[in-house]
Assembly symmetry: C2
Homo-oligomer: 137 residues x 2
């Protein structure tokens, strides 16, 4: 769990965010869902970040319990599940984009394509719309 222990964990929006997706792996899973087109367990595993399988399982379950992602059996192949963002999950996109904007500025080896970052800074609404339209629903 991202945060299981703290007794009263309500009130502050930042605290709420942290309780819902506030760790490294959750952010990386969200990134995979939003920008990388990944949707299967094994794809998250193979993303190359080095997440442990038990931790991945735990994070996916947390995110699902928090209704940020949902899990459905793949109709084309019943041995696997499709993970996808809920509405609540897609609405984290602005936060992720703000973070990427910042990171691109301060990380000199960032791999964000220039056209992406240009669009992010000139027509953020449009970029966001395009990303949303390209998400599997």
């Amino acid at each position: 769990m991202v945060d299981k222990k703290t007794k009263v964990w309500s009130g502050c929006p930042v605290r709420f965010g942290m309780s819902q997706f506030g760790d490294k792996w959750s952010f990386l899973i969200l990134r995979d869902l939003m920008f990388k087109g990944r949707k299967y367990y094994y794809e998250f595993m193979e993303a190359g970040e080095g997440i442990s399988t038990n931790v991945l399982a735990s994070r996916l379950l947390d995110l699902e319990n928090n209704e940020i992602i949902s899990k459905t059996r793949d109709p084309l192949k019943g041995s696997r599940f499709i993970y996808s963002l809920t509405q609540k999950g897609t609405e984290l996109l602005p936060m992720m984009l703000a973070m990427m904007d910042w990171a691109e500025k301060y990380d000199d080896v960032t791999e964000v394509p220039q056209e992406f970052i240009t669009k992010l800074r000139s027509e953020p609404e449009k970029l966001q719309q395009e990303i949303l339209e390209n998400l599997p629903s």
Copy 2:
């Protein structure tokens, strides 16, 4: 350290963000600096979140090493230090605001004042400017 181990930790902006401030406590410290006017070690300790003193020390040092915050001796009282946001740190404000916007929507016990959230949604630029102007520099 937020992330000390991963060998190659470059390229992706989300990964970069996580390596710089990617844990619960870092976010809460940033919140304190941005919105709560806290600047002393003991203020972070007393913020009521339950951070351990060794973890706080560690996070402050990480954030300082990452040049997101800076630390100076208080000229008025040399036994304490003033922690403040750098330019790099203040530029995380849009991300934090995006997160708060989201949280306010999904956390039904959020404590964000209505006027704050209204302004955030109607004149975000102006709100941001006001917050920046009120930060100690």
